[in-house]
Amino acid sequence: MSDKKKELKPNTYKFDTLSLHAGYQPHKNAGSRQVPIYQTTSYLFDDVDHAAALFNLERGGHIYSRISNPTVGVLEERVASLEGGTAALATSSGMSAIFLTVMTLCEAGDHLVVSSQLYGGTVNLFRLTLPKFGIKCTFVKPRDTEGFKKAIQKNTKGIFGELVGNPGNEIMNMPEIAKIAHDAGIPLMVDATYQTPYLCKPFEHGADIVIHSLTKWMAGHGSSMAGILVEGGKFDWMQNDKFPTMTKPYEGYHGLSFAEEFGPTAFTMKARAEGMRDFGPCLSPQNAWNVLQGIETLSVRMKKHCSNAEEMVKYLSNHESVAWVSHPSVPDHPDHELAKKLLPNGRGSMIAFGIKGGKDAGVAFINNVKLASHLANVGDTRTLVIHPASGTHSQMDEATLKFAGLSHDMIRLSVGIEDIDDIKNDFEIGFRAARKPRLVSNQ
């Protein structure tokens, strides 16, 4: 028998277990092993006192499914647990999660520093829509770390970016940009949709708010729209006077100070109490349940997504019809080393590549692949392709396209979990069609 004393270790549940169980206790739900779908608009009050207590945030519970719902609540806790966050708020889409985050943080007259490499819809929100609410933004290239610092103004309330830019795969130096944000007393908000918490937990690298379009890899099956904001709980809203709506008495709840009362969950509490009450982008319980089904197999799927993506990178890099390939696993990718640090479990399944022959070849490729689906989504279990210049980013003018790092020959590929040989065979059909117009014109 060994004399060696057993080291104390915390026995809190780990990632794969949390993916299946976090946020739900069957014994409180009639023993139902599966999370029930609470398809209801509203919830009975025990009496008048109970109703008043719920409305007044004196006790936890549900009032109306625009504000919260038990099925959605399980999803929120589950994602918070996987991210290592204190709290989360699910919304009807990823875009509504971004909007709610900004509207919880900012007021008219405020300013944000924003990465220029974003999903086209997000670019338009920051560039065109938020100015209508009096919120202005300065765009900075994600690799220009010093540029984020220079862009901060007196009225800047936060920095926002996608951890891996859409669609060019540029990676934000999150630890350095977080330091810049924190030195300025403002939070870093990161859209980590492409990574999911399986590949990266942004709170461990300095992020304060993490946002996901759950529609993508988290749900994973291309069936349901959903978004979420997750709070890290470390940011001190009371360190300066930049966030009066977090720290000063709020008229809407009898003079409540969210930061004083709720500390590490203050942002989520405000986003729910104010944002869901006033804007109402709530998630349906059916969609929340669909996302929960996806999360149960998140790590299994992400491993396959990543291994298929690395196979596709090798295949495309050696293909005669491909001019260039961008993926963080490629050794000459500018962020290859940073990706190793931030994405140790895999570099994700988004690949951008340039097709020889430019726009016409790109169109022919897209129109001829049979297995890969041509559509405006990413993170499905199925392989997806799109030509950003004519699709997701088509509302941008030439100059904006260039600033966003897009070219007319670029094809965005979201690698699915089909058999890798079938994906390659399908691409051969696309490449043959893409070469055909040039062969004809050469004759």
Partner: protein
Amino acid sequence: MKFKVNGHEVFASTGGRPFDKKKPLIIFVHGSGLTHMTWVLQTRYFAFHGYNALAVDLPGHGLSSGESLKSIEEMADWVNDVIDAVGHKEASLVGHSQGCLVTVECTSRYPNKIKTLSLMGGAGAIPMNPELLSLAENNDPKAVDLMMDWAHGPAGHFGGHPVPGLYHINTGTMLAKSRTIQNTLGVDFRACDNYKNGFEAAKKIKCPTLSILATDDKMCPVKEGKKLASLIDGSQVDIIDNCGHMMLLEEADRVLTVLKKFITTNYPPLSS
């Protein structure tokens, strides 16, 4: 609200209502390394129902200044000083874990001031695991992770927070890591380990007392809580099934229901 005790600024949450000297005072005392925020699902109710609910941050904790107090006896005297500092002559005390040691000691020292005593996850003594104590005193974040593991019951490890969207193990972890671990948790654990007067102090308590215990509490097991309660004349005991040491979060509604009945019966609110 902020006020001064012994020259140091103290923060106490008032549950979202302005402090009103006419209303009876309830003071909530948090556990080792934690802050006033652990009480949010109890204080707001009392604040809106005729009481001054003060969830204090002990010195050096949360938003209070100064250094952490090194003994349970000093903390007990400090709670008495808080009553004086806010201009009251009496108070009802509520404690959790280490806060139970503090409020038991305070009630025994100032029997005329303390009108009711409510203990959650309490015991007459809380001896510390030497390795855990060493980790906390050496500023190792593993001490917080271990505490959060042991403090939550098997059901609590799955989550299921009463407030939608909150994940309480991570929230508790963040509270305990909000200031330097060795200066908060380390000092508190040592104070708990050193405190030996709990059972003697309990024998002196004459005010109405409630003990809320939980069947899956590994830090202050039910039998220890019952032992303490048995020494207090007329003490009530309420035991929650399927719940761990963090009952004020794990079973917040049940705790509030029991606490509400006990306090409103024995220390009535100011009627509106």
